[in-house]
Amino acid sequence: MKSFTYSELNTTGIPYYGILAVLGIIASIGLVSAWHMEHSGHYVTGMTNQVVWGLPHVFAVFLIVSASGALNVASIGSVFGRLAYKPLARLSGLLAIALLVGGLSVLLLDLGRPDRLIVAMTHYNFKSIFAWNIFLYTGFIAIAAIYLWTLMDRSIKSLSFYAGIAMFIWRLALTTGTGLIFGFLVAREAYDAALLAPLFIAMSFAFGLAIFILVLIGISAADNRPLGNYIVQRMGNLMVIFIASNLYFITIQHLTGLYAAEHTEFETFLLTSGSIYTWQFWIVQIGMGCFLPLIILMRPQKSLSRSSVIVSSVLVIIGGLAQLYVIIIGGQAYPLILFPGMIEESSFFDGVINNYVPSFPELGLGIGGIAISAILVVIGTKILRFLPVSLADSEMDPNNKPLETEPTK
């Protein structure tokens, strides 16, 4: 097998610290937002007693789900033996840890009592899927770190296959656990479905790969590292499968809802009511997030261009955020039905579509989480050898030339 050389980030001085400073400012906005929310109380946000999870949770779940997806690139190399992906494994592991830490930061800072982190770490209710997730998240970081160690320490390199398998199984468990946070909500029309577990896994594949592609292309360009079209095209083609998987599970999710009379009203609300969630679902999640990237990636062309892959990745991320907005906030906007078949009315907003307007502190916190992830990647790649010196086609492509045709056709 061909061996690759890795190196730390070449960028130094003002450009490097400039990027860190910008990211630091964004992360600080997140921290200030969190402080404002905790100091004043959550009434300063758009979240209410009706929509109890808001924009921070959209960002947090997006980052957490993407973390396991970003790790998938490593799994394809280590577990499934695709040689082209092996040089990407280190960055994949680092990005996975960074995204998870960013997502968990948002989740933690949105708590009503983030100062009680120690309570969350010392008091467990093992019947709670939320408590299981605390183990899944911390375990994920630990196993990803061990996996990176096996990749970077030549003396234990032979163990990387086994670490990779453990990592692959763990990441599936993690995304399953995240999906089931919603799937186990038996009383809610929008959730209460085991299907949310595989849906979240499909989402993670697509979102994680999209983020990985953008990070890889971004760092390679900024750090003047050769990046050939071969690997970019392969990832673009892989993206087609992941988007299609996501679309498949979305279809089954809503077909199931439409079939069962008890869920029909919710599906009607979501799919046809003309609410903000209807538009987000059809235009952003399905149109921009699924169909448009599929068209861009699969359209007849001589070879898949890098810009097509970049645009598709951006669209998948935008569609992904919309998908989680629809799932998390749309699902709560629809009222909890206490008395099926009756018209309900009360001072506590029974029976009405709940209003939610995201606030700046929530947006600040969410974007702050992304900045925290980015800072970890920028620092990580600077101090350790995560990045292959060259991913040029001469290194990557067994035929030593760009793909002339698309494998997907």
Binding site: G41, V52, G112, R113, I134, A187, M342, I343
Partner: protein, 243 residues
């Protein structure tokens, strides 16, 4: 014939006992004799519950809600979407027949509470006597219980609180809900909503569901009652007559 003092005492005590056995069940209808003494831990021999007679609950009456707010120190901040509500009046209308109902909804104190299942730290818990509470010291404010509760019974405290009631500790950033006025029940008193309703419509009966002689148990035996979202199998401690 002379009667010895011992025999006289025995006869009078026996008569008192017989009278007591006869009258006591009736008397206990009005008391909370099942409440534990102060020095005794709560026991699962008791299961506190409530019956709401929706036929007696009148439209426009909000006495139970007002009493709850006064007892527990719940004050609005002029922000209905974030203000806490432990009990609320829900108005129902059958869209086909037009028949209307009004009834109070609060924490249903389920024997299988979803809020307790999902709480990551175990802050949501059920006492042995069936009262579902939130431990204000270990609630981290994740609000997952609010998503899980089928009855929309919980509120998150969205702002700093002042002038709290000494018996009802609350705190910004934590979740709360109806406690069945546990501080009153543990002192042989009825929940505030029940006491308030007893002065007007008498639509609420509170008591021990495990005591076959309690007024609640006898009412539950006598009338068909329903549970909100019975399909979920949460076995609520609050039953509704005429639903």
């Amino acid at each position: 014939m002379t009667i010895s003092p011992e025999r006289r005492r025995f006869l009078s005590q026996a008569a008192s006992l017989a009278a007591g056995v006869t009258i006591a069940p009736g008397v206990t209808l009005y008391g909370v004799a099942e409440a534990k003494p102060d020095n005794m831990a709560v026991t699962e021999k008791v299961r506190w519950g409530m019956l709401v007679d929706t036929n007696k609950c009148s439209d426009g009456c909000n006495d139970c809600v007002t009493a709850c707010n006064d007892e527990n120190g719940l004050k609005g901040h002029g922000r209905p979407q974030t203000d806490a509500q432990w009990i609320r009046k829900v108005n129902l209308k059958d869209p086909r027949t037009g028949v209307k109902k009004t009834l109070p909804v609060m924490c249903q104190h389920c024997s299988e509470p979803p809020c307790v299942d999902v709480c990551p730290t175990g802050a949501s818990f059920k006492r042995k006597d069936g009262i579902v509470l939130v431990n204000k010291h270990t609630c981290i404010g994740c609000r997952y219980c609010m998503l899980a509760c089928p009855y929309k019974a919980r509120s998150f405290i969205h702002e700093t609180l002042t002038d709290q009631k000494p018996d009802v500790p609350r705190g910004k950033g934590t979740v709360e809900s109806c406690t069945f006025c546990v501080h009153r029940v543990d002192n042989d008193l009825q929940p505030a909503c029940v006491e308030a309703c007893s002065k007007t419509n008498k639509a609420l009966i509170f008591g021990d569901m495990n005591d076959p002689n309690s007024k609640l148990s006898r009412a539950l035996e006598k009338y068909p009652t329903g549970r909100i979202r019975a399909d979920l199998g949460t076995d609520p401690g609050v039953r509704y007559k005429g639903l």
